[in-house]
């Protein structure tokens, strides 16, 4: 599977940056300096100081760790659970299928915010509660992708062949089906992670997210919103960080999707020559 290099590098760079934050020479993210609150960028504080005088750059980077960790963890859990459920449902059929699809419908009936509200109110706010909540919200997405993928794969003959050869169910599910739906699952994962970052900021906005003084992009945006007219930069930095990260993740997601889609590869040569120079109808392949 050939994937475009750009997005991979971008996302990789962001992930790497997040990992090395503890060893970077940053100002402590929770130390307040109220005398200099909302100070503009200065040599000591490259991106300025927030409403409590804390260093914005430091909070941005440490917040990245929290926001991305929550997003990655919840996306991963959702991925594992959802894929397992979807494969089991699609492959085993009958009761398993019914249970898998319908239980996801139950989850989908709940507005995500209500779900978050209930769970957080029950278990108390914090990252430890956020991760299961977000995971629950995103499991149906994975189930659907896995389920649809399984249905497509099942109709292929090599599955019949494998079964004829006497392979057990589990082996078939793991060895034959899983690799073939890997593409769409991967795409769904990157979509989910991006969406989780945005949802986390929404939950933090309502006070249901990460507990202060721990920084998170969501918290930073929520706080900066109330001082938008006095210190617009405070809103700009986390929004910029958020959108750049999501852009990178979406680009990666697109690249993965393009690489995984067999039709893209096929269409490249024939359609162009077939349609010739008809104005406006030249579906060329993706940019090289």
């Amino acid at each position: 599977m050939r994937v475009r290099l750009g997005p991979v590098l971008a996302v990789g760079a962001i992930a790497l940056l997040t990992l090395i934050v503890p060893v970077l020479p940053l100002a402590p993210p929770v130390t307040m300096d109220i005398a200099h609150r909302m100070a503009p960028p200065s040599p000591a504080h490259w991106l300025g100081q927030d409403e409590y005088g804390r260093d914005v750059l430091s909070r941005l980077l440490w917040g990245a760790r929290v926001s991305l960790a929550v997003a990655a963890a919840s996306a991963s859990i959702a991925c594992v659970l959802g894929t397992a459920l979807g494969i089991a449902g699609g492959y085993l059929g009958r009761v398993a299928e019914f249970f898998a699809v319908r239980s996801m419908d139950v989850v989908l009936c709940f507005p995500p915010l209500l779900l978050a509200l209930l769970v957080v109110t029950l278990l108390g706010p914090g990252a430890a509660t956020l991760i299961p909540v977000l995971a629950l919200v995103y499991v149906p997405g994975f189930v659907r992708v896995a389920y649809a993928g399984v249905l497509t794969v099942l109709s292929a003959e090599y599955v019949e062949a494998t079964r004829a050869l006497g392979a057990g169910h589990l082996r078939i599910m793991l060895r034959t089906i899983l690799p073939n739906i890997g593409g769409p699952i991967l795409v769904q994962f990157s979509l989910t992670a991006a969406s989780a970052v945005v949802l986390e900021s929404g939950l933090s906005f309502l006070g249901l997210g990460v507990v202060p003084p721990a920084p998170s992009w969501g918290l930073m945006i929520a706080a900066a919103r109330s001082t938008m007219t006095q210190a617009p930069l405070l809103l700009l930095w986390p929004c910029l960080a958020l959108s750049l990260t999501i852009l990178a993740m979406n680009a990666l997601c697109d690249a993965l999707r393009d690489a995984a889609d067999p039709r893209m590869r096929v269409r490249r040569v024939p359609a162009a020559t077939m349609l010739g120079n008809a104005p406006g109808l030249r579906p060329e392949g993706p940019p090289a």
């Binding site: 307040m32 409590y52 005088g53 109110t121 006070g207 507990v211 202060p212 919103r225 109330s226 001082t227």
Partner: protein, 503 residues
């Protein structure tokens, strides 16, 4: 990008003239008020939040109220006087209820019976538990007889928690206030119309009041700036400067409620009064005011007795001044010189509570107290507070009135458990002093009592005062007659809506 259709432009055209400042004729008799929340209900004697108080102050009136100068003035009672140590006599004026019936002593007696009833859930039930009986010498006179002398009866009855309601109209309470409820949309708005037979001449000045709820503070300010509303309450502190700078608006801000810390005196580290003192002197209050309230507030270094009050005592007013060394010494004396851990209960739902908690956490960390924040949503916070399930908790309250007795509910630990005060923290001396002050008619003696109270509070620390916060109302420049009452009376400012008009 929003598509600007012809209809949108038409709609915008109806808004623009108001943005420009001119007030159309049909608008000049309606004031639109931006509330910070929607009143859950309009039960006359219950306490269901400040938005409800503002609306109820327009619909219902009691024997007394607070005038624009913060002094008690007569409402349904035109005169009142003391009758010995155990009696208060009120002379009712000629007034009508909204249903046309005259206000009589019968209705007053019935009202007090409802307030005192066990199932009513009336806010003043506790404060009026020493009301022995209500006598009716004649249809326009009422005498309240109390078991113990209660100096503060007028102050208690002047709050909007004791409106006189027409007898037997409990299911649909009929009041005697300047406005009647002409329509409401639950969760969104309430429409009030002037009551033509209101007893005070010349008021209400405006024919209609419209209350619209804006839960989001930014939306509330935006509505004022866009001209959708004429007057808003709970002006967010970060917006106060821009409103002052706006030539079309004006800000009326006054120190009203306070922020403080309550303790659990039954379990946990704060059973020891020394540690409570340590917390009280370890906070740099200026930073809370700066960060949480954008500089709009005043430090509070004892229990909340306002500087303008006659009972304010400079000698004791700064007993909890910032002194980290003293804090550390207190901790050493209590045997925890190396520091300890505790949890701080606040809420994520209200910015001021959250900010205060974060700063307190930071400051206590500096003297070795490791604080973990517990920031649930407001209902959970209330529940935990009512049950005393916390070690330290942030309080944002207003005293019941500006007399030191108005602090009773917040500093007296001998009262039953309550969300508004410290839990499991008996304060026998404070309780005793408050009871004395409440029953003492001699002003000089009251001064002595309350001086003693302030001195004792410094040691007991049943409430660690942090700061007064400025409570702001913002309005269009041509709105006049509104009075933002100071201190504990702040939430009763709705009384002056009857006198509001446009210049």
């Amino acid at each position: 990008m929003p598509r600007i259709s012809r209809r949108t432009l038409l709609g915008a055209a109806t808004v623009l003239p108001f943005a420009a400042g001119a007030r159309a004729a049909w608008q000049a008799d309606t004031l639109t008020f931006g509330l910070s929340s929607y009143p859950p209900n309009l039960q006359p004697w219950a306490s269901v939040g400040t938005a409800a108080l503002t609306v109820k102050a327009c619909l219902f009136r009691g024997l007394l109220s607070f005038g624009p100068d913060g002094q008690v003035r007569g409402e349904l009672a035109e005169r009142w006087e003391r009758d010995g140590d155990h009696g208060w006599v009120f002379h009712l004026r000629e007034a009508k209820f909204h249903n046309g019936a005259p206000v009589t002593a019968d209705d007053v007696k019935w009202t007090f019976e409802q307030i005192g009833s066990e199932k009513g859930g009336a806010y003043l039930r506790g404060q009026l538990r020493d009301l022995a009986s209500v006598e009716m010498p004649d249809p326009r006179t009422v005498r309240l007889v109390t078991k113990t002398p209660i100096v503060t009866i007028p102050l208690i009855l002047a709050t909007p928690f004791a409106p006189i309601i027409a007898k037997d109209t409990l299911a649909a309470p009929v009041g005697a206030g300047p406005y009647t409820l002409s329509g409401q949309e639950r969760g969104v708005s309430l429409d009030l119309e002037a009551f033509p037979d209101y007893y005070r001449p010349g008021v209400p000045k405006l024919k209609r009041l419209r209350f619209v709820a804006y839960a989001d503070e930014n939306a509330r300010v935006a509505a004022l700036q866009a001209g959708d509303v004429d007057l808003i309450e709970y002006v967010p502190w970060q917006s106060m400067a821009s409103i002052e700078a706006d030539p079309k608006l004006k800000l009326d801000a006054v120190d009203g409620p306070y922020m403080g810390l309550a303790f659990n005196g039954g379990t946990g580290p704060f059973q020891d009064a020394r540690l409570r003192q340590a917390v009280a002197v370890a906070i740099r209050r200026e930073e809370i005011i700066k960060a949480a309230f954008f500089g709009r507030g005043t430090s509070l270094e004892n229990i909340p007795i306002a500087k303008v009050s006659e009972f304010y005592n400079e000698q004791y007013a700064h007993g909890w001044k910032y002194d980290p060394d003293r804090a550390k010494k207190l901790m050493a004396d209590a045997g925890v010189g190396g520091g300890f851990a505790c949890t701080l209960l606040s809420t994520a739902q209200y910015g001021m509570h959250k900010s205060t908690a974060e700063i307190v956490q930071q400051h206590l960390g500096e003297i070795g107290i490791a604080v973990t924040l517990n920031l649930p949503d407001w209902p959970t916070r209330v529940t935990l507070g009512n049950r005393g399930q916390y070690e330290l908790c942030v309080q944002g309250q207003a005293p019941d009135n500006n007399d030191p007795d108005g602090l009773s509910a917040y500093i007296d630990g001998d009262l039953p458990p309550d969300n508004a005060r410290s839990a499991h923290l008996p304060t026998p001396r404070i309780h005793e002093l408050l009871a004395q002050g409440r029953a003492e008619f001699d002003n000089a003696k009251r001064h002595a009592i309350y001086d003693e109270l302030q001195k004792v509070s410094l040691g007991v620390v049943s409430l660690a005062g942090l700061c007064w916060r400025s409570q702001g109302y913002a309005m269009a420049r041509d709105v006049q007659g509104f009075a933002n009452l100071p201190g504990g009376l702040n939430f009763y400012s709705g009384y002056s809506l009857e006198a509001v008009s446009f210049a």
